[in-house]
C-alpha cells in the first residue's frame, strides 16, 4: 500500500468515519500522517481546553465540520457557575482569520455570544449546519443573523439551550430563497414565533426531515405545518394542551397518519395527567425508534409504548415536576414493560419515583444490549421500596448483562458493592455518573482500577477522599476528565495531584469564597474540583473563582 498515490489513500480514508480509525491511520507512517492530516474534514474535540484553536487548524487545515465540548456534564444540574468558561468565540475568530472553510459546527455546553453567531454567519460562505446543545449566552438576535446570512443553511438544531428570547422575528429572517432546510429545532425557545413565517418556511423546504417546535406553537398550527411536511422523520410537537373532542385533534391524527416516515418523536409539553390523547397519538406511530417524553405519560402510557413501538431504540423519560408528589411520575413498572416490549432498546434516560432490584434484574435480562443506561431516581439515596435494600444488586445485574455498556448513571441508595460490580463487569464503560452513593474510598478505587476504558467520571455528594483520588494518579492521563463535588477531597490532596501531574489541569471552583489559601490544606475540603488532561497547560480565560493548581 505504500505505493498508492496520495489521492487513492485519501479515497480509502474517506471511508473511515470514526475518529479512532482516522487517528490510528495517522500513526502508521509519515506519509499516511500527512495524507490523513490534509484530508480530515470532520474533527472532534471532546474538551475545548485540551487543545487550542491554533493547534487544531495547524493539524487539520481542511477542517469543515467541528465538534467542540465545553463545560462538564454536571453543568446540566446547575453545579457549574455560568461564567466558568467554554467560550466559542476564540475558536470562530481563529478559524475565520485562517480562512477555514467551515460548514458545520456542533457545540455542547459552550458559551455562545451573539457576536460569535454573527461572526460565524459572516465568515463562512458555505456554512450549512449549526447544532447547539445545552449552550447559553445568545439571544434570538443571533439566530436572526444566521437565518439572514447563511444562504445554504441546512440545519439549525437547538437542544436545551438557555436562549434569551427577544420575541423578534428571527424566523422571518430566513429569506424566501431559503429552501434548503433539512433540520429545524427550536423547542428550547420560550417565546412566540411568527406562525405564518414558520408555515411558509416549512412549505418551501421539501427536504425538511426533522422539525421540533416550541411551546408557543399551538395544535392547530402543528396540524397545518404537518400538512406541508409529510416527509418528516423526526417530529417535536409544540404545545399539546387541548380538548380531546375538538375537530383539530381529529384532523391532527389524520394528518399524522399521512406522515409515514416518522421514526422519532418528542415534545408533548403540557400533557394532562392521564395522557390519554398522548397515548392515542403514540398508538399511531408504530415505527418509532426514538421517543423523548415527559413522565406524565405514566406507567400505563409506557405500557402502550411497549405494546406499540416494537422498533424503539432510544427512550428518554423526563421529569415534569422535579419536586413532585408522584402522581404523574413513572416507576419500575413502566421500565419493565418497555424492556419486555421493545427488544431493540439500547439507550435509556429514565427519571422516576422509585426502582426495585427485581425490576432492574428483569430489565437486565430482557435488554442485554444497552449501551447507555441512565437511571435518575428523583429522591436521592432511595432504597428498593419493596425490600428496603440498596440497589447494588440491580445495577450489578445491568453491568453484568449489558456487555456493551458505555455510559451509566446511578441513583438510589448504593453502597461500595455496586462499584465492585462496575469495576468487575463494566469493561467497555466510558462514562460514569455517581451521586450520593458509596461508603468509602474503596468504591471509587474499584471503578478506577477496573474500568480500563473509562474516559469521564463525575461524582457528587459521595464519601470519596484523597486516598481514592491519589492512589493512581497516572489514570487521569488516560481519561478525559474527572469531576468531584461535595466529596471528601481536600485542597491538600488536590495540590499533591497537581504537582505530580503537570499535564493535568486541576481546577478548583471556589464560587462563594469558602476557601482561602493559607488555611490548613489538609483539612479544607474542596467543594468542586474538575481535572482534565490537556496539551496546552492552564487556560488563560479562567474567571477569578476558578483556581488552576
Amino acid at each position: 500500500m505504500n505505493y498508492f498515490p496520495d489521492e487513492v489513500l485519501e479515497h480509502v480514508f474517506d471511508f473511515l468515519t470514526s475518529h479512532r480509525d482516522r487517528n490510528a491511520v495517522s500513526l502508521v507512517c509519515r506519509s499516511w500522517y500527512k495524507v490523513e492530516k490534509w484530508s480530515r474534514h470532520r474533527v472532534f474535540v471532546g474538551n475545548c481546553y485540551a487543545i487550542s484553536p491554533e493547534r487544531l487548524i495547524a493539524r487539520f487545515p481542511r477542517v469543515r465540520a467541528l465538534t467542540l465540548k465545553g463545560k462538564p456534564h454536571f453543568a446540566d444540574f446547575n453545579l457549574v457557575p455560568h461564567d466558568w468558561g467554554g467560550f466559542v468565540y476564540p475558536w470562530i475568530q481563529v478559524m475565520a482569520k485562517s480562512n477555514i472553510g467551515l460548514e458545520e459546527l456542533r457545540l455542547k455546553r459552550m458559551v455562545v455570544s451573539n457576536e460569535s453567531l454573527e461572526l460565524l454567519a459572516r465568515s463562512f460562505v458555505n456554512f450549512k449546519s449549526l447544532v447547539l446543545v445545552s449552550c447559553e449566552g445568545f439571544t434570538t438576535d443571533g439566530l436572526a443573523a444566521l437565518a439572514a446570512n447563511c444562504r445554504f443553511l441546512r440545519e439549525l438544531d437547538l437542544q436545551e439551550n438557555e436562549v434569551e428570547d427577544r420575541k423578534g422575528q428571527w424566523l422571518s429572517c430566513f429569506p424566501d430563497s431559503c429552501t434548503s432546510l433539512v433540520s429545524l429545532n427550536f423547542a428550547c425557545l420560550k417565546g412566540e414565533v411568527n406562525l405564518t413565517a414558520l408555515e411558509r418556511l416549512v412549505a418551501r423546504c421539501p427536504n425538511l426531515m426533522s422539525l421540533r417546535l416550541n411551546r408557543a406553537v399551538p395544535l392547530e398550527a402543528l396540524q397545518r405545518i404537518l400538512m406541508h411536511a409529510p416527509q418528516l422523520v423526526d417530529l417535536g410537537t409544540g404545545s399539546f394542551d387541548h380538548d380531546p373532542d375538538t375537530e383539530t385533534y381529529r384532523k391532527l391524527i389524520s394528518t399524522l397518519q399521512k406522515c409515514k416516515s416518522i421514526r422519532s418523536m418528542s415534545g408533548f409539553l403540557e400533557v394532562g395527567i392521564n395522557g390519554v390523547e398522548l397515548i392515542q397519538l403514540i398508538g399511531h406511530c408504530r415505527k418509532l425508534q426514538r421517543l423523548w417524553i415527559l413522565d406524565c405519560i405514566g406507567d400505563k402510557g409506557l405500557g402502550v409504548v411497549a405494546a406499540t413501538c416494537k422498533d424503539l431504540q432510544e427512550l428518554r423519560v423526563f421529569p415534569s415536576d422535579l419536586h413532585g408528589v408522584g402522581n404523574a411520575a413513572v416507576t419500575e413498572e413502566g421500565l419493565v414493560a418497555v424492556s419486555i416490549g421493545c427488544p431493540k432498546l439500547h439507550s435509556l434516560l429514565y427519571f422516576c419515583q422509585q426502582m426495585t432490584n427485581a425490576a432492574l434484574i428483569t430489565v437486565a435480562k430482557n435488554c442485554p444490549n444497552f449501551t447507555r443506561f441512565r437511571l435518575c431516581i428523583l429522591d436521592p439515596k432511595k432504597p428498593d421500596p419493596v425490600t428496603g435494600q440498596p440497589l447494588d444488586e440491580g445495577f450489578g445485574a445491568i453491568v453484568q448483562s449489558c456487555k456493551g455498556l458505555r455510559r451509566l448513571s446511578l441513583s438510589g441508595l448504593l453502597t461500595d458493592q455496586v462499584f465492585l460490580y462496575i469495576g468487575m463487569y463494566a469493561e467497555h464503560l466510558e462514562m460514569l455518573s455517581i451521586a450520593f452513593a458509596g461508603d468509602s474510598d474503596k468504591g471509587m478505587l474499584y471503578v478506577l482500577n477496573g474500568c480500563k476504558k473509562l474516559r469521564k467520571l463525575e461524582i457528587r455528594d459521595s464519601p470519596f477522599g484523597n486516598v481514592a483520588l491519589l492512589t493512581d494518579v497516572g489514570k487521569y492521563e488516560t481519561m478525559r476528565s474527572l469531576w468531584m463535588s461535595s466529596c471528601e477531597v481536600t485542597l491538600g490532596g488536590c495540590k499533591v495531584l497537581a504537582k505530580k501531574m503537570p499535564r493535568i489541569n486541576v481546577e478548583i471552583i471556589n464560587e462563594y469564597d469558602q476557601m482561602e489559601f493559607g488555611f490548613d490544606d489538609d483539612v479544607q475540603k474542596v467543594d468542586k474540583m474538575f481535572l482534565y488532561r490537556t496539551l496546552v497547560g492552564p487556560r488563560k480565560d479562567a474567571p477569578h473563582f476558578v483556581w488552576t493548581l
Binding site: 507512517c29 474538551n47 487543545i51
Partner: protein
C-alpha cells in the same frame, strides 16, 4: 467494439457501452484515438479482465440488490489482487470500482491499531519514538 491491450499483451474486445464506464478509455474514444485499439500499459491482463467483467456486469444489471451481492463476491480477492484493482480503477477512472475497492481496503483498516495496520499492509514505521508519542498523545487527548 473496442480492443484493449494489457501491459502483458493480452487483448480484450469490449462493447463500447461497457468501455465508457472507464473514463480514461471514454476520453480516448471521444478524442478519436480508439481506431486501432487502446493500449493499457499500467494494467496486466489478469486485472484488466476483472475490470472489464465489473463494468460489463454493471451495464447489464439494473437491480441494485443483485449488483450489491455480485460486488460483494467480486471483491473477495487476495490482498495483492485487491491492490492491483485499486490502482487499475484509479488509472482507468472507473469510479464505482474505485469506491468498491477503496471501501474494501478501508474495511481492513477499521478498528485496528497502527501496529496492526502496518503489519497487514507491510508498512515500515518511519516515525522517531518521540514523534510517534507526540502524535499519539495529541490524538488521544484532543481528537478523540
Amino acid at each position: 467494439m473496442i480492443t484493449l491491450t494489457s501491459s502483458d499483451g493480452q487483448t480484450f474486445d469490449v462493447d463500447e457501452v461497457v468501455a465508457v464506464k472507464m473514463q480514461t478509455i471514454k476520453h480516448l474514444m471521444e478524442d478519436g484515438c480508439a481506431e486501432s485499439g487502446i493500449p493499457v500499459p499500467n494494467v496486466t491482463g489478469k486485472i484488466l479482465a476483472k475490470v472489464i467483467d465489473f463494468c460489463k456486469k454493471h451495464v447489464e444489471t439494473a437491480k441494485a440488490e443483485e449488483l450489491r451481492a455480485w460486488d460483494a463476491d467480486f471483491i473477495k480477492v487476495d490482498q495483492v489482487t485487491l491492490y492491483d484493482l485499486v490502482m487499475a480503477a484509479n488509472y482507468l477512472e472507473c469510479k464505482r470500482l474505485l469506491d468498491l475497492t477503496c471501501q474494501r481496503v478501508a474495511d481492513m483498516i477499521k478498528g485496528k491499531s497502527p501496529e496492526d495496520i502496518r503489519e497487514i499492509f507491510n508498512i515500515k514505521n518511519d516515525f522517531t519514538p518521540e514523534e510517534e508519542e507526540k502524535i499519539r498523545k495529541a490524538n488521544q487527548w484532543a481528537f478523540e
